[in-house]
């Protein structure tokens, strides 16, 4: 990777000096240098792609009333000068029709941080990556199998942030992830089984995932699903696998607590939220077993939402969104914190690359409960176990949803019995979370990664983390797809 070390400081000084001379109220500068690699095997076709990108994003507040943002991937003095002037010009224009901007205080930070990595994924040969993927997809062959797919994704990101307030922050990140998917065709149509995990770690994650050992089990499942009976419709207790709970948290807790969305700034594209400010501290969002944190601190684990500072220089924090079922907090920015009476942002401004930072999920996680997974099953008299997401739909306020899973099992008298295909469930967010009476313990808790959360106009793709363990929900509307 061509390093951006040193370049960030020089360009930031150039940009922030111009902003200061032009009387900007506030300015910040980010230089982001990224490297990505994707290695894919689909059936017998292999491909790899590597991308290198570097650019700068400059944000200016003018007259205390107007924001402007400009970005460029030409990281030379002339371009940074022009881009800063463009951001200033947009901010000046906005200031003429804008109203006073609130901007929560944040201490000045001068720091350096790197995400922990044991094995740099870019030091591992492409041959080794292909070998692992081909071995995995090779184990997915069988009568009725129509697609075998394996993919690995790796990224490194160097970020330098500097603000007119004096913050100077270097952060380096490494991300790794892998996915396997197999599809079979048979009497019940096309059925898919898959597994995926993405974290802020090195190639040691891929080693631990041991994809070739997962492949035969996924294949067996897919072939069984094409002959399985459809999940029946009705009301039932359900146990969701940890990866499905993670997505449920993302969609029905993570998105509705984005404060920009709540305040209407995403109404045109993403929608609004049922978690309006008058509900804060009042709404019983879930049962007392439900504790959801917004936690970007490294202590939470190496998630896709882990960092030391967000993209407006706010230090990462752990805050509760839901505490013992009560709705108590939002994902915020310096610009929005005061709108809900907070004196400080909890550090949730994130940008894809060097684009404009917006409020995004960090690690939004369901804290572990006190149930051993086997005990949850044994304690369930009549219900369904649903495993791994296969699509969903949720309304623009994140209130009314339905999720489908790849596979399910009938549970009778505490034991897992026959497989069912196309299991799905529907619910109203607070009713659903209030029906949660058992959350798996720390042993079954995994910090899952979502690498593709879309938001904003123009759309940005963000990586987010979601810790979750299997959980049980009582008397839920279930159906078969």
């Amino acid at each position: 990777m061509s390093t951006s070390k040193g370049l960030g400081e020089d360009l930031a000084k150039l940009s922030l000096d111009i902003a200061s001379r032009e009387n900007a109220t506030y300015a910040d500068f980010r230089l982001v240098n990224g490297r990505d690699q994707i290695v894919t095997v689909v059936n017998d076709n292999s491909s790899s792609e590597e991308t290198q990108s570097m650019g700068a994003g400059i944000r200016v507040l003018y007259g205390g009333t107007g924001w402007g943002f400009a970005e460029t991937d030409e990281t030379n003095d002339d371009s940074i000068r022009e881009t800063t002037l463009k951001a200033l010009s947009l901010a000046r224009g906005a200031s003429k029709i804008g109203s006073a901007v609130s901007f929560a205080d944040e201490p000045v930070h001068v720091d350096r941080w790197e995400s922990p990595v044991k094995k740099d994924p870019f030091d591992v040969s492409l041959e080794e990556k292909y070998r692992a993927l081909q071995e995995s997809t090779g184990k997915m062959k069988g009568e009725g199998i129509v697609v075998r797919r394996g993919q690995m994704n790796f990224s490194t990101v160097e970020k330098y942030f500097a603000s007119s307030a004096g913050s100077k922050i270097h952060q380096n990140f490494t991300y790794s992830g892998a996915a396997l998917a197999v599809a079979a065709k048979g009497p019940a149509g096309l059925q898919t089984r898959s597994t995926r995990q993405y974290m802020s770690r090195g190639y040691e994650l891929i080693d631990e995932l041991d994809l070739p050992t997962q492949a035969p089990e996924l294949t067996k499942d897919a072939l069984a699903l094409v002959n399985a009976k459809r999940c029946p419709d009705g009301k039932s207790d359900i146990i969701l696998s940890g990866d499905q709970v993670a997505l449920q948290v993302h969609e029905s807790a993570g998105h509705p607590i984005e404060l920009d969305r709540v305040l209407g700034y995403e109404a045109n594209f993403a929608g609004r939220s049922f978690l309006t400010p008058d509900q804060l501290g009042r709404l019983q969002y879930g049962s007392d077993k439900v504790n959801i944190v917004m936690d970007a601190t490294p202590e939470h684990g190496p998630g896709l939402g882990t960092f030391r500072y967000d993209d407006e220089g706010v230090k990462s924090q752990k805050k509760y969104a839901v505490k013992e079922g009560k709705f108590v907090g939002y994902l915020m920015s310096r610009n929005t914190a005061s709108k809900v009476g907070e004196a400080r942002s909890n550090g949730c401004m994130r940008a894809e690359g060097y684009h404009l930072p917006i409020i995004r999920m960090t690690n939004v996680s369901l804290e572990p409960g006190d149930w051993n997974y086997d005990e949850i099953v044994e304690d369930t008299k009549d219900g369904f176990l649903m495993v791994t997401n296969y699509g969903w739909s949720i309304d623009q306020k994140r209130y009314n949803f339905q999720f489908n899973c790849e596979k399910g099992y009938r549970i009778r008298n505490g034991s897992i019995e026959e497989m069912v295909r196309g299991p799905g469930y529907q619910g109203i967010t607070p009713e659903f979370w209030n029906s949660c009476d058992a959350v798996g313990d720390r042993k079954s808790w995994v910090l899952w990664g979502t690498p593709n959360c879309g938001k904003g106009q123009p759309t940005q793709i963000m990586i987010t983390g979601h810790g979750a363990s299997p959980a049980r929900f009582r008397n839920v509307k279930v159906f078969g797809a």
Partner: protein
């Protein structure tokens, strides 16, 4: 000259740059039996607004060089945003290294030879030079209209200009320069329980009727007030064009195929598409025809794909 206009490179320089980059790649990739470069540059400006006030205005400039190399039925792609000669050479080395270590592709096809493309006129200078004050006035009109009617206006007015150059080692050369933009607007009330949406897309910003967009959003929001409950059942349904365009997207692209097109030949052949094995079969009513037409007068973007 407007700053946005000043920040764009003239066409002749871009062509020269594309050829110079191709020469650099060719010199560095002598081992490859097929070489293709795609140079894309772009510039965008977006004015965002929400809650009846202007939000964050954004400007962006980007350029990107993607290099595809083939070597004995092996293929690799490496992309960089940095166009200095030494870094382009490093990118070629990365692509070569990937190609050398990739398994052979049994479905490998040679690179496409020189093609003839119909001319397209999708570049409109005004889209690039429209003064920010004029764009702000469009938004101001919508916000005023929303306020007068007790609604909140949110949306974005975005304009883009893009250039693409593709050159390959068997003589293909394709280029495109075009502008496009969109104005999308929501007017809502009662925390989103009453909403109206409108969208206009254009290549030439002079075709944007911002007043009509605002009136449409308002009219829809008015119609959407005090919604009653609709019980599940069978009904005749009139599908709004915006809703239909979303539906069409999900008809053509599905999670079943791994977010690949269900109309794609690979998905079709592998049996992953719901259309697999149904070519020639009547699957919709007589009144439904779906076509793929890069030359449609309302279409924006190039008339060639990434190969």
């Amino acid at each position: 000259m407007d700053m946005a206009q000043k920040m764009m490179q003239p066409d002749s320089l871009l062509k020269e740059r594309a050829h110079e980059l191709f020469r650099t790649v060719k010199d560095a990739a002598r081992e490859a039996d097929g070489i293709e470069i795609t140079l894309t540059t772009g510039q965008s400006e977006n004015l965002r607004f929400g809650n009846n006030e202007l939000g964050q205005s954004q400007f962006g400039k980007s350029r990107n060089l993607s290099i595809r190399l083939t070597l004995d039925k092996r293929q690799a792609r490496a992309t960089t945003g940095r166009l200095e000669k030494s870094l382009v050479e490093k990118t070629v080395e990365k692509a070569l290294s990937q190609a050398r270590t990739s398994p052979q592709d049994p479905d490998h096809l040679p690179m496409l030879e020189a093609q003839r493309y119909h001319g397209l006129d999708r570049y409109h200078e005004r889209t690039l030079t429209e003064p920010a004050e004029q764009k702000a006035a469009h938004i101001g009109f919508a916000i005023d209209l929303a306020r007068k009617n007790g609604l909140l206006a949110s949306g974005v007015l975005g304009t883009n200009v893009g250039n693409v150059w593709i050159l390959n080692s068997v003589g293909l050369e394709a280029n495109y320069k075009g502008t496009n933009g969109f104005y999308s607007l929501t007017m809502d009330a009662d925390n989103g329980n009453q909403t109206g949406y409108a969208l206009s897309t254009f290549a030439d910003i002079r075709e944007l009727d911002a007043g009509k967009v605002a009136e449409t959003a308002l009219e829809r929001a008015r119609l959407n007030k005090n919604q009653g409950e609709t019980l599940p059942g069978k009904y005749d349904v009139v599908v709004d064009p915006y809703a239909w365009s979303e539906t069409l997207f999900f008809l053509t692209v599905s999670a079943t195929a791994g977010y690949a097109p269900d109309f794609g030949m690979r998905q079709y052949k592998e049996g992953r598409s719901y259309l697999s094995g149904r070519l020639g079969e009547k699957i919709m009513g007589d009144n439904i025809s779906i076509e793929d037409d890069a030359y449609h007068p309302l279409q924006t973007g190039p008339s060639f794909d990434g190969e």
